[in-house]
C-alpha cells in the first residue's frame, strides 16, 4: 500500500474549502458569446465534473481557469481573492495546473525531462547553468515509482509509454510541483477501458490527497465513478448543477445525452 500523492500534496489544504469560485462568469469572443452565467465552485478534496457535448463551452471554461484566455464577465475568485489570469504561468503560480488530453507531454523527450519540463533543477541562475541531471532522474524515477507508475527506463522517450501512463505522468508531475487545483481535460477520451481505469484511480488519489479536481469529460460513467459534484454545460450555459447525493447515474446519462430532446427523438423514431 502506498499513498504518496497525499504526501506531496499541499498540507494546508482542508477538505471542502473553496479553492476556485466562479460567479456569473462569461466569455465572449467578439460577437460570439461562448460562455455565460457560470457559477462553479471547486472545493479542496472534491472532484467537480464538467460534462457537455462538443461545443458546449467546456474548453472555454478550461481556458479561463488555466489562464489561456481571460474571462470578460463576472468574477473568478481564487482563495477568496478575485483574479483574472493572463497567462498559464500566472495560473500555475496560484497552483492551478492543467493537463490537456492531447498535449500533456512532449513525446520525443525522455520521461524525466518531461517530468521536470518548465521546472528544471539547475546548478545556478545563469542561462547556461548545468542541469542536475542525476538528481532529476532519481527524483522522477522514485516519484513515479512511488505513485505506482511503472516505466521500465526513465530515459526512454515518453512516447513509448501507453496513453494512460502518459496522462498519469502528467498528473503526477502537476501534483509533485505543488498543484492545488488539477484541471483534467478529457483525460480518458482516447483511452481503452483498462487505461481509463488507471487514470481514474489517479483522479481518486488526487482527491484523497485533498486537491481540488476539475474533471472535464463527456463520459458520464467515468464522471460518476469519481465525481462529487456535477455540472452539465450546453451551448455555453449550465443546464444541470447537482451534488452526487442529488443525482443518479441514469439521470446524468439522460441529461448528458440530451434529456428531453432525446426522449422526443426516440418517440419520433418510434422504436421502443
Amino acid at each position: 500500500m502506498t499513498d504518496t500523492l497525499a504526501s506531496h500534496a499541499d498540507q494546508g489544504l482542508h477538505r471542502g474549502e473553496p479553492l476556485i469560485e466562479m460567479e456569473e462568469v462569461g466569455k465572449s469572443y467578439g460577437a460570439i458569446r461562448a460562455l455565460r452565467g457560470i457559477n462553479l465552485r471547486v472545493n479542496a478534496g472534491e472532484v467537480t465534473c464538467v460534462l457537455g457535448d462538443n461545443g458546449a463551452g467546456k474548453s472555454t471554461l478550461i481556458k479561463i481557469m488555466s489562464g489561456l484566455h481571460p474571462h470578460n464577465e463576472g468574477t473568478l475568485r481564487v482563495d477568496g481573492k478575485p483574479e483574472t489570469f493572463s497567462s498559464p504561468r500566472e495560473a500555475l503560480g496560484h497552483g492551478i495546473a492543467t493537463v490537456y488530453q492531447d498535449l500533456a507531454v512532449v513525446s520525443l523527450m525522455e520521461v524525466w525531462r518531461n517530468f521536470f519540463l518548465g521546472s528544471e533543477l539547475t546548478a545556478g541562475k545563469f542561462p547556461l547553468a548545468g542541469l542536475k541531471v542525476r538528481q532529476m532522474r532519481e527524483i522522477a524515477d522514485t516519484e513515479l515509482r512511488k505513485m505506482g507508475i511503472v516505466v521500465k527506463d526513465i530515459n526512454q522517450p515518453i512516447g513509448t509509454l501507453s496513453g494512460g501512463q502518459r496522462q498519469c505522468v502528467a498528473i503526477a508531475r502537476a501534483v509533485y510541483f505543488g498543484a492545488r487545483v488539477l484541471i483534467l481535460d478529457e483525460p480518458t477520451a482516447a483511452l481503452g477501458v483498462k487505461q481509463s481505469g488507471v487514470v481514474l484511480k489517479y483522479v481518486a488519489a488526487a482527491r484523497a490527497a485533498g486537491l481540488g479536481v476539475v474533471f472535464i469529460t463527456h463520459n458520464p460513467h467515468h464522471a460518476y465513478m469519481v465525481g462529487d459534484h456535477f455540472v452539465i454545460l450546453k451551448l455555453g450555459e449550465t443546464t444541470l448543477d447537482k451534488t452526487r447525493k442529488e443525482v443518479s447515474l441514469d439521470e446524468l446519462t439522460t441529461q448528458m445525452a440530451g434529456g428531453d430532446e432525446l426522449a422526443e427523438l426516440s418517440h419520433e423514431l418510434g422504436r421502443k
Binding site: L103, S107, M109, G118, E120, A129, V150, K152, Q156, P157
Partner: protein
C-alpha cells in the same frame, strides 16, 4: 479516506534497454556510420586525401559550413527553419565593410554594428514567425529575398559595383583578422582558427542542449510547443533566441569571409542555406523538430566537407558532387524516419 490507491506490484528493477536500442536512439549514429564509411572510402581511393594537410583543408571547409549549421541545427530541433541563414553571412560582411568604408570609421565599430543588425534580423524573423503563426519557411524565405536584394542594391548604391571594396587598409583590419580569420602552423599543417571556433561552438551547443534548462526548452518547443507552453516554458523567448543564435553564427562566418578575402561579392551566400539544412538533417535532426543534437550536425557538416573535397582529391569530375549530396540527404532522411519509428514504438511494456 487516507489511502485510495494501490500501486501495481512494484517493478523488481528497471529494465535497461539493450545497448543496440540505446545506440539506435541517438540522433548522430547514422551520420557517424556514414562519416566513417565515407572517410575509409576516400582514404582508399584518393592517395592525396591521406595527409594531415588534406585533413585540415577538409576541416576548414567543414567549419565554414558547420558553424552556421550548428545554429541551424538548434533552430530545427526547436521546430523552425531559417532560409535566410546563407545570405545573412554576406549581409554581415557587406554591412561591416561598406559602413566602415563609406563613413571612414574603424572596422571594429562596423563589426559590432553589423552584429547588432544581424541580431535584429534574427529577432524579426523569430518575432514575425511567433506573432503571425505563419510557418518560418515562408517568413524566412521572405527575409532571404529581402536580404539578397538589399545586398545587391545597397552595395551597388554605395560602391557603384556589385562587390564590396577592399578593407585591408582600414583601421582595425589586423586585429579583426586575428580574431576571425587567422591560421597557425603545426608542423606542415595549416590550422585555421575557424576550425577551433567551430569545435567551441559545437561543444557549447551540445552542453546547452543536453545539460541546461534552455536545452530542455528547445527540445520541448520543437517537439510540442503547446504542451511546452502549458507547463510554463517561455516558447516565444526560446524561439526568438534560436533565430538570433542562427544570425549570430551567420555574422561570425560573415566576419571570417570578410577578413579572409577582404572583398565580398554582393550576390554571395545564396544556396548555402540548404547546405546548412542538409548538414543538420544528415546529422540526424528531425525536420519536424524536437529531435537531434549538435554533434550530429557537426558530423553532417564534416560529411559535406569530406565529400565536396574528397571528390577533388580523388580526381573525379566535381560535377557529380551535387548528385552525391542528394543521395546522402535521401539516405539520411530514410535513416531518420527509421530511427523515429524505433524510438516512438513501444519497445518495452
Amino acid at each position: 479516506m487516507t489511502s485510495t490507491i494501490e500501486a501495481p506490484a512494484p517493478a523488481a528493477g528497471r529494465v535497461k534497454l539493450g545497448l543496440s536500442n540505446r545506440l539506435l536512439a541517438r540522433p548522430e549514429i547514422g551520420a557517424l556510420v556514414a562519416a566513417v564509411i565515407i572517410f575509409i572510402f576516400f582514404l582508399s581511393l584518393a592517395p592525396s586525401f591521406r595527409s594531415a594537410e588534406s585533413f585540415f583543408t577538409v576541416l576548414y571547409q567543414s567549419s565554414v559550413i558547420g558553424i552556421v549549421a550548428c545554429g541551424v541545427g538548434l533552430l530545427m530541433i526547436g521546430g523552425e527553419f531559417d532560409l535566410s541563414a546563407g545570405v545573412i553571412v554576406y549581409t554581415a560582411g557587406l554591412f561591416n565593410s561598406m559602413f566602415c568604408w563609406y563613413f571612414g570609421v574603424n572596422l571594429w565599430i562596423g563589426a559590432f554594428l553589423s552584429l547588432a543588425f544581424c541580431l535584429l534580423i534574427g529577432f524579426l524573423n523569430g518575432y514575425l514567425v511567433m506573432r503571425t503563426g505563419i510557418p518560418s519557411f515562408l517568413i524566412t524565405l521572405g527575409t532571404f529575398f529581402v536580404l539578397q536584394g538589399a545586398n545587391l542594391g545597397v552595395t551597388k548604391l554605395v560602391t557603384k559595383t556589385v562587390s564590396s571594396l577592399d578593407v585591408s587598409n582600414i583601421d582595425g583590419y589586423d586585429s579583426l583578422g586575428k580574431v576571425f580569420s587567422s591560421s597557425f602552423k603545426v608542423g606542415s599543417v595549416t590550422v585555421w582558427t575557424s576550425v577551433i571556433w567551430w569545435i567551441l561552438f559545437v561543444a557549447l551547443a551540445t552542453w546547452a542542449l543536453q545539460r541546461t534548462r534552455v536545452g530542455n526548452w528547445i527540445f520541448a518547443v520543437g517537439g510540442n510547443p503547446d504542451s511546452a507552453r502549458a507547463v510554463g516554458v517561455p516558447v516565444l523567448r526560446t524561439k526568438i533566441g534560436l533565430f538570433m543564435t542562427v544570425s549570430f553564427l551567420g555574422w561570425f562566418v560573415g566576419m571570417h569571409q570578410l577578413y579572409r578575402f577582404n572583398t565580398l561579392q554582393a550576390g554571395g551566400g545564396v544556396g548555402n542555406e540548404f547546405l546548412y539544412i542538409i548538414a543538420a538533417v544528415v546529422g540526424g535532426t528531425l525536420l519536424t523538430g524536437g529531435f537531434g543534437n549538435s554533434i550530429g550536425v557537426a558530423i553532417g557538416a564534416f560529411i559535406f566537407g569530406m565529400t565536396s573535397l574528397g571528390i577533388i582529391y580523388a580526381g573525379w569530375d566535381p560535377n557529380w558532387f551535387k548528385a552525391f549530396l542528394g543521395v546522402m540527404l535521401l539516405l539520411a532522411v530514410l535513416v531518420n524516419l527509421y530511427v523515429k519509428r524505433m524510438s516512438t514504438m513501444r519497445k518495452v511494456g
